[in-house]
Symmetry: C2
Subunit: 204 residues, 2 copies
Amino acid sequence: MRMAELSAETGVPVATIKYYLREGLLPSGRRIGPNQAHYSREHLKRLRLVRALREIGGLSLAQVADVLAVLDGGRTAPVVLGAAQDGRVSSRPVAQAAWEWALGRVGELLGEPVDADDPAVSNLVTVLATCHALDHGAVAGRLVEYAALARAVAAVDAALITDVGPAARPGEAALVTALLGERLFEGLRHLALVETMNAVPAEA
Amino acid sequence: MRMAELSAETGVPVATIKYYLREGLLPSGRRIGPNQAHYSREHLKRLRLVRALREIGGLSLAQVADVLAVLDGGRTAPVVLGAAQDGRVSSRPVAQAAWEWALGRVGELLGEPVDADDPAVSNLVTVLATCHALDHGAVAGRLVEYAALARAVAAVDAALITDVGPAARPGEAALVTALLGERLFEGLRHLALVETMNAVPAEA
């Protein structure tokens, strides 16, 4: 298909597609004339993936580029997942005391010694320390319950990723399952929480 | 405390604090001189909340303002949760066929008729339709499992929210539990998924 069709099919403006081509997020089309190129179904799929990672996964374009480079390197699903997580590390400043308190709670959960240089661990500590600073440190008392449920969710994720079949790339399946799956689960959790709270007598 | 102390305590630049005051995100301090004001512990707490909703909750400043207005109106926890969700509605374009397919799957899950005007439902349909467009529609076959786990997570959330005690505001507890809790759960899920996938023989 031509670029105009690629744009019409995905709703992505031609100028944006050209930008993605320049930035290497989308591979070049097959040249069929001095100012024309042909784009395949693979281009369409890649363009959809870029947009989904941006708009639903919440990654910046630079993060999308990093993750796609890892994906295109044919790396395993855990490596692709790690790359997607790296881009989302929170660098928000947290008071030292709150950070150390949170590191202790995460250590109790995961077992010492905790590798605070692991972006996934550091993210967890940052969020927990922020809860503490907001007088909601009680959430730490529920970490074991949340972690058990997170393992159950991850087991469903893993089944989806490994079930994709030999033709599909497990790295891409892992990426979509993890990033879009988070939004899906958040939506389900929100609906369930509102339903639960509506069943509780109003207090405010 | 003075504004400089408020800034030192939170790491938020004075210029940003002044901007929040102008925008009404932070109430004015008690004036103690022509160019000086005194800020209380309540200001400190509010400033921390604004930053956490921005940096970890991922809300825009306009969304933070909307949610705080609902919170300050003394509304119930479900109303505050709804306001926080409204700001996160995805307006990403989805092909009609994918949308209708996803609406059908959500209808099977939640029971017909589905209220597609409910932002929470519309978000769910958008994410599912995007999965479908990316050839990962298989996730729909796991919706019932995910929804059951989401209900279990929401039950823990609800216990945390209702346990805050009479002094705290349940709306604020709901907000922090929902928005920061999402990031916490995502972190736990990521760690569990990487662990699970590392235990599976590499395929890529």
